[in-house]
Symmetry: C2
């Protein structure tokens, strides 16, 4: 019976590493969102360029994550909860990689904006960014603590972010109507708001996948659930 517990400990160790890796990737993209918005507020193109450079690290983390997932699937042939966890992490990494791309998009818009005089105070944008980051962090916390209640609590939270997004868009349209000189800058800010809105969509997706991983029920796409259960 000696080798068996040893192997299990190794396996547990690998699953733990997978957990750590996905958290690290999450922390990295969270920091990228925060820095991209800080570069907007502080009008720092250097900071924006640092965000763009950082994306390479996220890409590398995704490759490492995928390699570990595939290796675990091939060698450990997991079932049930472990299988759901590994395949969930495999998909969540795709969402995180895209979130990184979105932070890069924001940073690119910031560099364009910094070539122009400042427009106005961006009241709702930092608020939107803060909420979006918090959602993402909580979704990943729910993943590593296998907390489906917490994940479920996140699922409708992007309604609030959507409302902020609508308001930002309305205000920016007004600026554009007021003065054609505002147009270019306002479209850049619209693009930043759009990227934040997409990030909150990804956070919602992640939360939905966490619920699936924890209790094996797919709550994505709302009412299709019952149909799926019938097939299952």
């Amino acid at each position: 019976m000696q080798p068996r517990p040893h192997t299990d400990r190794e396996y547990e160790g690998e699953l733990l590493r997978l957990r750590e890796q996905i958290l690290l990737m999450g922390a990295e993209v969270e920091a990228m969102i925060a820095e991209s918005i800080r570069s907007l507020l502080e009008r720092s193109s250097d900071m924006a360029r640092a965000v763009i450079a950082r994306d390479e690290r996220v890409d590398r983390l995704e490759l490492q994550n995928d390699a570990l997932c595939l290796s675990l699937l091939a060698r450990r042939q997991p079932v049930a909860s472990d299988l759901r966890f590994i395949t969930t992490v495999l998909r969540i990494a795709r969402d995180l990689e895209r979130v990184g791309d979105q932070a890069v998009n924001i940073a690119e818009r910031v560099i364009e904006l910094n070539a122009e005089p400042p427009l106005k105070a961006y009241v709702d944008l930092p608020h939107m960014a803060g909420e979006t980051q918090a959602m993402l962090r909580e979704a990943l916390d729910a993943l590593v603590s296998s907390d489906d209640i917490r994940a479920k609590g996140l699922i409708n939270r992007d309604d609030h972010i959507d409302a902020l997004y609508d308001r930002v868009n309305r205000v920016l349209l007004t600026y554009m109507m007021e003065d054609p000189k505002n147009i270019f800058r306002a479209t850049r800010l619209q693009s930043i708001a759009h990227n934040l809105e997409r990030i909150s969509d990804h956070a919602t997706n992640i939360a939905e996948m966490v619920v699936f991983y924890v209790n094996g029920t797919d709550i994505r796409h709302g009412r299709m659930q019952d149909e799926q259960n019938e097939q299952g």
Copy 2:
């Protein structure tokens, strides 16, 4: 020896079903892109609403796809090429689901545009949409025919779409500067162009994953490849 070939045939049948399912999902989102752009050109809000309604079917196809992938992983415990194929399909389905969401976004913008008088002829947008759809179709063809050469050929093709995107954006900025009455409609069209550009990103991702599936080399994120190979 009799049961074994039978099992293999069953397994082959399941893999074939997975192939068919992902192609079906691809065909569905391709049609959604085509219809969303047709609804723009023909100013048909009914057609746009039909695109929005169709997204439910894509969501259902994703759930079916995920269920089959997980079931295959749990029961067949695949390795090597089969394992790469199944996990690739699992991730590609996420990309396709997001492409469906982007077609829905386009349709929503079309409905907003139809409440206003037409702006101008949309020369580059249908062109962009056609190229994007073609890229997506070829990436999925490359997947089901395990054709890495074809997939590689797609990887830099989104440069052309990016160039079209820049031109569309420049033209729309000019419209906005010319007349503030154009602003609202031009921002809607910018959003449509942005969605098409994101779709071409997804098609590139899919092509990269196909190369990985076929020859086991991860070419995503360019130069990180060698590093990964060192890690083995």
